[in-house]
């Protein structure tokens, strides 16, 4: 008797959980689409910057900037780790933290690690658990990171790098490759290598070459372009992390919903069987009683 009631109770609670996970899956899907649109909108800027750099290179300017130059000796390395504020997204947070801690151990061998900054509550608690001191924490980045907030971090890193307080900046995040593939990576963002300079463009046989006028000068523009593209690059990391988080949550919640469905099925089967055997037993008892009377 107690067994049947218990089974029914359990089935009800699994059903409730399935409702929750299904809703979370739907929410994650909606957020993923939004985050994806934002990431797509952000590519316009990167494309435009690349075009300017190409035009600068075509005009015969040497592409040099303090942010592009590696420092002679690497003594202090800053690390920025991008995780989520919330859990229930499968191995998303775990794998970024694992990659970051591994890299950090490597860095410790050759250089003093500078500041370690962590974004996301999950990452912060994971670092606390691993007993790793964290200088700065950010919890304001959700599924739609704002450029202003990211630019502040970027400017801080730029000024630390230029003034020589740090010699390298690593960022640990989940890179978005496609909607079915995201990989946790640790990338070196400074010295900056994100500017691609086309080596030889003459093969293209482009139509008319535009002779650009540079105001103030090609070098003066370059001075601005490099920090701007670094900021855009860091922003891209945040966007990638946000998109990947939603995908991870979507996948995790989808399998949770499926598992709950399976569990309900097997619980129902046991429940029905228990009920049937109880009925059979009662009938047997009644028949036994009738026979005894007769």
């Amino acid at each position: 008797m107690a067994n049947i009631r218990q089974l029914d109770k359990r089935r009800k609670s699994v059903r409730n959980i399935r409702k929750i996970t299904r809703t979370m899956e739907l929410i994650a899907t909606a957020r993923f689409k939004k985050a994806m649109d934002r990431a797509a909108a952000a590519t316009d800027y990167t494309k435009a910057i690349t075009k300017i750099v190409q035009d600068l290179a075509k005009s015969g300017t040497d592409v040099t900037h303090p942010l592009l130059m590696p420092h002679e000796s690497v003594k202090a390395v800053d690390m920025l780790v991008l995780t989520a504020n919330r859990g229930l997204c499968g191995g998303y947070n775990g794998s970024v933290v694992r990659a970051a801690l591994q890299k950090r151990a490597e860095i410790k061998e050759q250089a003093d690690s500078g500041c370690t900054s962590v974004s996301g509550k999950r990452g912060i608690s994971a670092f606390r658990f691993a007993n790793v001191p964290v200088e700065k924490t950010y919890t304001e980045f959700d599924d739609q990171p704002s450029f202003d907030a990211v630019a502040k971090i970027a400017d801080e890193l730029i000024s630390r790098y230029i003034t020589g307080r740090i010699d390298r900046v690593d960022v640990a995040y989940t890179r978005f490759v496609s909607s079915s593939k995201q990989i946790p990576v640790v990338e070196t963002l400074l010295p900056f290598s994100g500017i691609e300079v086309p080596q030889d463009d003459s093969a293209k046989g482009s139509k008319i070459r535009d002779d650009y006028e540079f105001l103030p000068s090609a070098a003066g523009i370059l001075e601005e372009v490099v920090p701007a593209s670094f900021r855009a690059r860091l922003f891209k990391c945040f966007l990638d992390a946000a998109v990947s988080e939603q995908i991870a949550r979507m996948v995790a919640m989808k399998s949770a919903t499926e598992n709950a469905g399976d569990l309900i099925k097997s619980l129902s089967r046991t429940f029905n069987r228990a009920r049937q055997s109880k009925i059979t037993q009662e009938i047997m008892e009644i028949i036994g009683g009738v026979e005894a009377l007769g």
């Binding site: 435009a48 630019a151 105001l215 003066g220």
Partner: protein, 132 residues
Amino acid sequence: MSDGAVHCVVVTPEKTELDVRCDSLILPMYDGELGVYPGRAPMVGRLGFGLLKIKSAGKEDVWFVDGGFVQVTREAVQVLTDRVMRRDQIDRTAAEADLQKALEIKPTSPEASALRDRSLAAARAKIRLSSR
């Protein structure tokens, strides 16, 4: 740009904010304003912190631009900036805080001094343009 209109595109790292055709526009360059009429020669320039004025059919549309670049090509004027906002959206108190912070930077190297100048210019432009 040959049809007598200027195609103006304003892009920020977040998205394309503006995509309009207009009669002419005035860009806030690093050293003063620069007007663009249809058919202007190709140019790449550095923007300062100031007002972007888009003129169309006698009307003027004014935006605040927070540094960046402009690229004038045969097809369009492409403005690349970190932030673009209406003038009344400028946060004066935040700008004043930025100014204080910029003043505290010690110009110990050429790079640090360039950074200081840049932050000072940005903060001062914001304070100046928000007060009017």
